[in-house]
C-alpha cells in the first residue's frame, strides 16, 4: 500500500512561525481594551485553525482522495 502522506513537502516551520506570531497578536489584543477586539480575535482564531488544518493536517489529501464519480 502506498503511503500518501504529504508531510514530506510540508511547510511546517512556516506554519509554526505564523501560529506563533498570530498568538502574540492575540495576546496583545486581549490585554487591551480596544473596540472590535471580539471580531479581531475571532478572525485570528479562524486563521490559526485554517493554518493547522491545511498545513498540519493536510485537508487537501482527504478532499482529493474521496472525490469520486
Amino acid at each position: 500500500m502506498t503511503i500518501l502522506t504529504s508531510a514530506r513537502e510540508s511547510p511546517g516551520q512556516a506554519a509554526l512561525l505564523a501560529l506563533a506570531v498570530l498568538t502574540g497578536v492575540e495576546y496583545v489584543i486581549g490585554g487591551r481594551d480596544i473596540t472590535g477586539a471580539f471580531a479581531m480575535l475571532t478572525l485570528i482564531a479562524v486563521v490559526k485553525a485554517a493554518v493547522i488544518v491545511i498545513a498540519f493536517m493536510h485537508l487537501a489529501n482527504v478532499l482529493r482522495g474521496s472525490a469520486d464519480d
Binding site: T5, L16, G30, A37, A49, F56
Partner: protein
C-alpha cells in the same frame, strides 16, 4: 478475525477510506465543541474572569501549538520509515502535551478558590477545560502507544496509525485555538 473488508478488490484505496472516517469523526467532534462554545457565550456573554492567569494561558497555548509541530515531524519521519526520528519527535510531543496538562491542572487548583464550579464562570471554565483536557489525555495515551510501536519498527510498512494519532493531536490543538481566546482573552 473475520474481517472480509479486504476480500473483494475495492474501488477506493484503504487509506482514503480511513482518512474519510477520521475526518468525519473530527466533523462530529467539531459539533460537540461548537455546542460547548455556544453554551459559553449563552451563559457568560463576552465576559472573561479577571482572575484567569494570562501568563499560564499564553504559555500552555504556545506549548500546545509547538507540540503540533513536533507531532507533524513525527508523522513525516514515520512516513519515510525513519524509526528513530519518529520516536524522538513522539517523545517531544508527549512531553509537551504532559506540560500542557500540568498547566491546566495548576489552573484548576487556582480556580477552585478564584471561581469555583458553583459560579457562572467556573461552570463554563471547568466544562471547557475539562472536556478539552479529556481529549488531550486520550491523545497522550494514543501517542504513548504509537511511540512504543514506532520504536519497535511496527509502522515501517504502514504509517497510517501514526498519521491518525497525529491528526487527532492536531485536531485537539485546533479546538484549543478557539478555546484560548474564549477563556482568556475576550
Amino acid at each position: 478475525m473475520t474481517d472480509h473488508a479486504t476480500q473483494l478488490p475495492h474501488v477506493t484505496p484503504r487509506i482514503t477510506i480511513n482518512r474519510a472516517g477520521l475526518w468525519l469523526f473530527f466533523l462530529s467532534e467539531t459539533m460537540l465543541f461548537s455546542g460547548i462554545l455556544a453554551t459559553r457565550f449563552s451563559l457568560l456573554g463576552t465576559e472573561v474572569h479577571e482572575d484567569v492567569s494570562q501568563t499560564i494561558g499564553l504559555v500552555i497555548t504556545s506549548i500546545l501549538l509547538a507540540s503540533s509541530y513536533t507531532a507533524l515531524r513525527a508523522e513525516h519521519a514515520a512516513s519515510s520509515g525513519d524509526r528513530a526520528t519518529c520516536a524522538k519527535y513522539l517523545w517531544l510531543t508527549l512531553a509537551l502535551g504532559a506540560v500542557f496538562v500540568a498547566g491546566v491542572a495548576y489552573e484548576w487548583a487556582e480556580a477552585f478558590d478564584a471561581f469555583p464550579a458553583s459560579t457562572e464562570f467556573g461552570t463554563v471554565f471547568f466544562l471547557m477545560t475539562g472536556v478539552h483536557a479529556f481529549h488531550v489525555i486520550t491523545g497522550l495515551i494514543f501517542l504513548a502507544i504509537l511511540l512504543n510501536n514506532a520504536r519497535l519498527g511496527r509502522y515501517d510498512d504502514d504509517a497510517w496509525p501514526v498519521e491518525a494519532g497525529v491528526k487527532y493531536w492536531h485536531f485537539v490543538d485546533v479546538v484549543w485555538v478557539f478555546f484560548y481566546p474564549a477563556l482568556y482573552l475576550i
